[in-house]
Amino acid sequence: MVRRGFFTASIVALGLSSTALAAQTDDLARVRAAYGEVDAARIAAVIQRGVDNELPRRLLVEKALEGTAKRMPADAVLAAVTTLERELRAAATVVWPDQDAETLEKTADALRHGIDRALLVELHRERPEEFPMMIVAIEDLIHVGVDPDVAEDMVRAAATSGLSGHETLGLPATVRRLVREGSTPRDAASSVRAGIRPGGTDVPPSVDERFRDVPSTAGGRGRSIPPIL
């Protein structure tokens, strides 16, 4: 019985370890094929440094693959991965001990765009699961023309009121619509801010404005042909 157990455990351990090893070695195969072993090793070293710093390997590998797909020079890929590793490390200090890849990535974006670090800490503490969408909402509001302070206040209110990421993402969409209808960004933001309240059930658009629902073969949502059509 013991021998059989040992044998089974050995097979399982061998399978798991070889699968994990293969996955890690294969995920940079395209990078090696494009740039050769030497440059790929330099890139892999930066990725490993990130992993050693408890950053999600996937994000760093993705950046390397992105640069490879876009046929960037090896040095450019190395620089981009290095920059991302540094930004993610800074982001990790904001949301620590959360190591969710999307959270770290959006935190890095937010810091790069100058969003207040204290606000990031507060939003993440308040609504960690909705945090990435809240960052997107702040960025969208600023992009529409809303003052950063007002944008941050709106999203803070959304977090306090229990709006989901789904609903929070509706804030900039609504502001954008009001601006298109003639309001100034300030007035539009003020109107939308006044409408944020806890406990309701109305749901603003769930995805980008132009991503309207279309029938789907598998029950999911889709987006429509954009305005160009």
């Binding site: 021998r3 044998f7 992105e66 981009a80 974006d109 229990g162 789904h166 279309v214």
Partner: protein, 214 residues
């Protein structure tokens, strides 16, 4: 053995706490134990302990030696055929599959990872009248330009539907396999770190506790 009887023999229960059914059995056990005690069981012979321990030490080998023995000597293994077949199939699958299968390069790979989760079908569209081919690539497919868009009616509007997980995704279009193009109609963009901009799409899940006033 009955739990109540076990507790009685351990001294945790009194005889009068046992059911009538167990009392008879308890008395039989008591009689047996009395016989054992009265049979004159004596102390172990002098030196028995050291003899036993010497014997055990003589047979015991170092862990590394036992491990080598396990690998070198023939072993009798009993394995359920079903488990053996499953293990063999798993190993064969791992070695026979192409390397690309390790990572989800196809949208189908991403879809596979979404079993049990909410997913959204997103239709990507690009107007490119001169293009011979258009693909979309992003962080959802490891930037493999293998999700081709279609232009069946030849009007220069290329479209394709991709199943994505809720979250924030970055993407670009690849025209004619060479030219990377940022979606001109995206709601938002982010620097790609290579001097260009990726389009960004945010896909959310369900509603929360709050709302926007109408």
């Amino acid at each position: 053995m009955n739990k109540e009887l076990n507790r009685y023999l351990d001294g945790e229960l009194e005889p009068n706490e046992l059911s009538a059914e167990l009392k008879g059995e308890a008395e039989a056990w008591d009689a047996f134990l009395t016989d054992v005690r009265e049979s004159g069981a004596s102390e172990a012979p002098v030196g028995l302990e050291s003899m036993v321990m010497d014997s055990v030490r003589a047979e015991r080998k170092a862990p590394w030696s036992r491990l080598i023995d396990w690998w070198v000597n023939p072993q009798s293994l009993r394995i359920r055929p079903l488990i053996g077949l499953a293990a063999a199939a798993a190993i064969a699958t791992f070695f026979l599959l192409p390397n690309d299968a390790v990572l989800p390069a196809e949208p189908a790979g991403a879809a596979t990872a979404l079993v049990g989760e909410e997913a959204v079908y997103v239709q990507f569209v690009l107007e490119a009248p001169e293009a011979q081919s258009v693909a979309v690539a992003g962080d959802f497919n490891d930037w493999s330009p293998d999700i081709g868009l279609a232009d069946p009616d030849g009007d220069g509007i290329w479209a394709g539907r991709v199943r994505l997980a809720p979250g924030v995704h970055k993407y670009m279009f690849l025209v004619d396999g060479q030219q990377w193009v940022t979606d001109p109609l995206a709601e938002r963009y982010t620097e790609d770190g290579f001097g260009n901009r990726n389009a960004v799409i945010a896909i959310t899940g369900g509603a929360g506790a709050g709302s926007l006033a109408p």
